[in-house]
Symmetry: C2
Subunit: 214 residues, 2 copies
């Protein structure tokens, strides 16, 4: 990217990560950890393959991304965020917060990847009763199931399934998201097609606050 040529921290930050796709590449690496080239491409539908290669090289030169040859059995290159690269987390979090209101509009033609929801889940959900025994919620929306678990006051999210979840929430992404983050009442979401099975307390336990705008 062409530099803005301004002695300003915001401008200099954007010189590094203001290019198209760059922050989404960071999101992928942040959410999925060390990733192969093809997995990155998969999480970034629409990116031109040469562009991904270019960006990864730029990010590597900027010291935000490291490239490591995976141990022999795997035989692949792994890309990961460096310490400095992980400092992008607050930037991603701020964008997440800003973009939150725009998630009430359903996906439409937009691609969905379930693991993208792990970020808002960990960012917006809280365990409101940390003293009580932990709860587990299985989330079924998008392309693969997720699990939410309370762990010392926080909510952890991961892809996968739970053995005996306290509740299962399933349905269209915008309904699931709205219900979890608190912009949508469970009853209303159900009327719109959300399925919720299990203990309603589990949902209330982790639900986000936001009254309007999920």
């Amino acid at each position: 990217m062409r530099s803005y040529g301004q002695y300003c921290a915001v401008a200099r930050a954007l010189d590094l990560i203001g290019d198209r796709w760059t922050l989404l590449i960071a999101r992928e690496l942040y959410l999925r950890g060390p990733s192969r080239y093809t997995d990155l491409r998969d999480g970034l539908p629409g990116i031109a393959t040469n562009l991904l290669a270019d960006r990864l090289r730029e990010l590597e030169e900027a010291g935000l991304v490291a490239r490591e040859a995976a141990p022999p059995p795997v035989a692949a290159t792994l890309f990961s965020l460096t310490e400095r690269g992980r400092e992008l987390r607050p930037v991603l979090a701020a964008l997440l917060q800003f973009g939150k209101p725009m998630m009430v509009a359903p996906p439409g033609d937009d691609v969905v990847r379930s693991y993208w929801f792990t970020f808002p889940a960990e960012q917006f959900l809280v365990d409101h009763a940390p003293a009580e025994p932990p709860v587990t919620i299985e989330v079924r929306t998008g392309d693969q199931p997720l699990v939410l678990e309370t762990v010392d006051g926080r909510v952890r999210a991961r892809t996968g399934t739970a053995d005996e979840p306290d509740a299962v929430i399933a349905g269209d992404p915008e309904l699931v998201l709205g219900t979890l983050t608190g912009g949508l009442e469970l009853a209303e979401a159900k009327r719109r097609g959300l399925r919720y099975k299990g203990d309603p307390k589990a949902l209330r336990r982790v639900r986000g606050f936001t009254p309007a705008a999920a």
Copy 2:
């Protein structure tokens, strides 16, 4: 901007403000308040005028910027951030934080605008002794003087001069910035050409923490 087409809050946020120049326009409006077209162009050296016009229109359509005809005596169009536009503040703040380490490199050919420093000043400086009488520091670097004032625990920054400042700090931008934010010791900065007059306590009173990397 072409949409990323992803049902992800980060991607949807970037659909709105991921375009080149867009966040810097937001920075200008945020720092300077309602601004005229030509003033914006002045704070964004290098931007093509048609591009500025395009971006302002896009931002207006997105509901982030409002355009108002200034009252008769002025006879000009004023652009300002809407409520929603002001929600970009955390995004700018996160970028500021991320870009902070990159400010140790001197401006070189980069353009400098003094009022750009009001953002890091208010973000990184604290009044460490709110109980004591307020202090005022005049900052001379870049194109125009700035004033830092302690106001109930916080530090307020504005362009202009002070009548009887407790201290005056002057010199190259990277020295002033490094000294204020705490990455550079005053003695070291002085050896490199920084001028500091007045009560050294005034500086210590507001100085930021960051040990390394200004």
